[in-house]
């Protein structure tokens, strides 16, 4: 049984084997979704690959894993298919923007916007005016929201489902719960086989630190923007709502990405597509740097390095935002949408 060079064709070959075996159906949502199909078009493969959380349990449990001549390696091939699908759904179509280039661009743009204004300690808007900051970030945010929406629509349209199918409260609720708890990285409450074949909760926990850290930082910014609109201007005291949220989020964004990176260093390379490391690592690095520069800014805001730190921090954040639609961040969009589709299909099966 010949392995195929093209990831889609190889994925189709694997699904034929998996569908005749089905031993893995208790592991995650991918295999029940597979069993609902008899044939696997490219759209099916993109869906299944984005549904896969890359936990690798199916690889370690597989009687046909290499060196068996069937050479079944679902997590690795699905990772390759996912990478292709990210390019396919990205809008505009130039998906291979280097995240490092974007980071550099962000720093430069911020430095230019800030000009050569000098500022007193803790006077953020002496370094960069509130108007410029808000305008720049609002513009970037609108762009990335549009890009993400376009990517999502492309993914969803490929499924053949209508948009109305997506917006069903019961379905969305269940999918959101699965996404927010990372149920599929928790193989029946013992975690997943990452970074090696022994079960561990490490990856799931570090992902939680990262995701919820990111969410808290967003919440902090939102609250601070609200404060600003009522004339309550940053910097805020250490025990104010935005600073506490931001600090907690920032700690999460240090622990999470550092932990995920450390796991990545130890992981079994048999199950991953190593070509994607630059995409993964640059995203982790940007998250980590966002938090690090933000926390440093908090601690050193009363000193004369504040101006430089603020520019660096804003530059990193801008870089992070600019790379979101073309980097690892998009996995969250497509995986969540795939989870919605999986819940939708399963609910039909029970009719």
């Amino acid at each position: 049984m010949q392995q195929a060079a093209n990831p889609i064709a190889e994925g189709q070959r694997l699904m034929t084997i998996c569908n005749a075996c089905r031993y893995c159906e208790g592991f995650c949502v991918v295999f029940p979704a597979m069993e609902r199909r008899l044939t696997f078009a490219e759209a099916d493969m993109n869906y299944l690959a984005n549904l896969c959380h890359n936990c690798a349990e199916c690889y370690y449990a597989c009687q046909y894993a290499p060196p068996h001549e069937f050479s079944v390696n679902v997590p690795k091939v699905f990772a390759q298919i996912r990478a292709r699908s990210y390019q396919k759904y990205a809008w505009p179509g130039f998906a291979s923007v280097s995240p490092w280039w974007a980071l550099a661009a962000g720093v430069v743009v911020t430095a230019l916007l800030a000009g050569s204004r000098s500022a007193a300690a803790a006077d953020f808007y002496g370094v960069i005016s509130h108007k410029v900051m808000v305008t720049a970030f609002a513009a970037v945010s609108v762009i990335i929201l549009m890009v993400h929406a376009a990517g999502f629509l492309r993914f969803w349209r490929e499924s053949g489902e209508g948009l109305a199918e997506f917006f069903q409260p019961a379905v969305l609720f269940k999918a959101a719960r699965d996404a927010l708890t990372l149920k599929n990285l928790d193989s029946n409450r013992v975690g997943c086989t990452y970074p090696n074949e022994l079960h561990s909760q490490a990856r799931r926990r570090f992902h939680h630190f990262t995701f919820y850290g990111f969410a808290l930082c967003l919440a902090s910014t939102t609250v601070a923007a609200g404060y600003h609109s009522v004339g309550w201007i940053a910097p805020h005291p250490y025990f104010s709502v935005p600073v506490v949220l931001g600090t907690l989020g920032g700690i999460g964004l240090l622990i999470g990405p550092a932990g995920l990176y450390s796991l990545k260093r130890q992981r079994d390379t048999a199950i991953v597509d190593v070509k994607q490391d630059s995409m993964d690592v640059s995203f982790l690095a940007l998250l980590f740097l966002t938090s690090l520069t933000g926390l440093l800014l908090l601690v050193l805001r009363e000193t004369n390095v504040m101006g430089a730190l603020l520019r660096i921090h804003l530059g990193v954040v801008l870089g992070l935002f600019l790379t979101l639609p073309y980097g690892k961040f998009v996995h969250g969009i497509y995986r969540s949408a795939a989870l919605v589709r999986s819940v939708l299909e399963a609910s039909r099966g029970q009719d």
């Binding site: 005749a20 089905r22 159906e25 208790g26 009687q63 046909y64 069937f70 029946n188």
Partner: protein, 452 residues
Amino acid sequence: MVGGGNAALCAALVARESGVSVMVLESAPAEYRGGNSRHTRNMRCMHEASTEVLTDAYAEDEYFDDLLRVTEGETTKQLARLVIRDSLRAAAWMKSYGVRFQPSLGGTLHLGRTNAFFLGGGKALMNAYYAAAQHRGIRVHYNAEVTELHIRDGKFESGRMQLNGQPTEFRARAMVAASGGFESNLEWLEAVWGEAARNFLIRGTPYNKGKLLKLLMDQGVESVGDPRQCHAVAIDGRAPKFDGGIVTRLDCLPLGIVVNKEAERFYDEGEDLWPKRYAIWGRLVAQQADQIAYSIIDSKVIGRFIPSVFPPIAAPGIAELAAKLGLPAQKLEATVREFNRAVQPGSFDHQVLDDCRTEGLIVSKSHWAQAIDKPPFYGYPLRPGITFTYLGVKVNERAEVQGLGSGTNIFAAGEIMAGNVIGKGYLAGLGMTIGSVFGRIAGKEAARAAGR
């Protein structure tokens, strides 16, 4: 522990619980460890009430009656009762070592009541055992094939093995033989079955060569079981010689007709429900010329069975299909025509013994007989696929091998002694139950013998 599958690891872990030092000699390399256990997916468990993964009840007597029926009485009743009674306790013990169970898989042969399924299948089960073994300081040697046994006064003293290709001596105060049957030893199969054996496919591990079984028999250990008895099913003829496992099975035989290389039908494809009949088809195909047969179906039944890993051979007409399969075209057309004419009206339901049957044929089809008339037509080549052999060593209820006198320190568990319980026929999931129950007994007794 000589062997590296379910029985060997159960024995190793139990022995280790008593504090003795344990060494596991697995003849396969690490990536193929676990013998045939790596291809399994469930074990048959007695239970008085429904459990997390088993529905209803499956009481001792029903289990025992099932066993009597399939073996036609060829079982050691006392050992069979022992296996049945301890089956649920063995499963609970396995759980304590990290083995996970799940409700029955979709598309399985209605086993949700009787069989507890391993989450992720047998290889996941073996991974849990090996992780536990490592954690508890059990030494595991891979690529370790035992070549000599030194037995004095009925007691094992030392042995020799090829360890990574190097001759190496080993000693132990007790030994457990849990090294499987001889189904992947092609010379031995041919000695038993003649040249026909060359066309057999081996569904499981290539490492069950029966070398330890032979060594023990040569040393005077009593054997049990007929060397010709084996569990064999009809699998896809395109499967690899070894290790094809579950994905090469074909469940479509009762949905169409099965012909030999002369394009003639030779057995009632609809004799009984498939779960009760699939295990006779290996032997049936083995008895045909060149040990080959073909399952022929039409488009009506696609989607009613789990597909094999190999795509069916398709053609718009019966003659074209015959050409693709290498069958005499006119003969196949005649066989299909004759079959279609004999089909009686009825309401088709492949889940139950329906009333669709033929009339007037020499080889009738008792159920699920539908005319093969909706193109495209499909064919699957079939070969006998051996799962395991029944020849083994005789044991008592303490898992001691027989024939070496009392007080021996050699015990046996798993496929190498399964013939004590199943002399013929098979019950799905019983092999793993025997392995777990006797593995635990052998481990406990070996630890006790080592402590003497």
